[in-house]
């Protein structure tokens, strides 16, 4: 069966520090992969999506970047975090119609 792993679960980082969040999917090949951000009480904001290795589409210009070095690995990065980068980050995957989410990373930038 397919599973998605996302880590860490929580992260507290100072302003100006780098960021790397990792997501891996098991049990499926060539999935579409997604990074979303969810602010408290708000809907999901699509940040990046990827339909294949090295293929990244950015939905919102900002302080973040994404990479897909392997078929089932998706990484969200930042060189210098801003206070406004705080939020709940979710990785998701999709091979057919249904989209499944990881457990999320609560990022607090202080």
């Amino acid at each position: 069966s397919q599973t998605i792993h996302q880590w860490p679960a929580t992260l507290v980082q100072p302003v100006g520090s780098p960021l790397s969040l990792e997501c891996t999917v098991e049990g499926t090949s060539n999935p579409n992969l997604y990074w979303y951000r969810q602010a408290a009480g708000r809907g999901l904001q699509l940040l990046f999506y990827s339909v294949g290795i090295g293929q990244i589409s950015s939905e919102v210009p900002q302080n973040l970047s994404a990479s897909r070095p392997q078929d089932r690995q998706f990484i969200l990065s930042s060189k210098k975090l801003l206070l406004s980068d705080s939020g709940f980050y979710l990785c998701a995957w999709r091979t057919g119609q249904v989209m499944f989410f990881g457990s999320g990373t609560q990022l607090s930038v202080l």
């Binding site: 996302q6 997604y34 408290a40 009480g41 708000r42 809907g43 999901l44 699509l46 999506y49 939905e59 979710l90 119609q97 249904v98 989209m99 499944f100 989410f101 990881g102 457990s103 999320g104 609560q106």
Partner: protein, 111 residues
């Protein structure tokens, strides 16, 4: 859907009663819809989906109704339990595009 910021719409129901959560979607071309349940601090969990060629689909204790005429989706939960307390949100998928997610409704189950 429009976000309501920190103040999500809240539905409070008595344990054992039925719950109905509503969602208005925006794109009349959307042909696939999903309801998700999200507990505090966790990722959204798939509940049930429906394609636009259907107007009703049933799962275990849950039913999704689709009214394409008014672009409305609802989730019915039978015999609501304390474990059903969570934020529920819908997602619509226009053909060839990414999902669009609603802001959600908080379901609170009263003992």
């Amino acid at each position: 859907g429009e976000s309501v910021g920190l103040h999500l719409p809240t539905l409070s129901v008595q344990e054992g009663d039925n719950s109905i959560i509503n969602c208005a979607y925006s794109n009349s071309a959307s042909d696939y819809f999903i309801w998700y349940k999200q507990e505090s601090g966790k990722g959204p969990q798939f509940i049930i989906d429906i394609r636009s060629n259907m107007d009703k689909r049933q799962g275990q204790r849950v039913t999704v109704l689709l009214n394409k005429t008014v672009k409305h989706l609802s989730l019915q939960i039978a015999a609501t339990q304390p474990g059903d307390s969570a934020v529920y949100f819908c997602a619509e998928n226009p053909p060839g595009q990414n999902f669009v997610f609603g802001p959600g409704t908080r379901l609170s189950v009263l003992p």
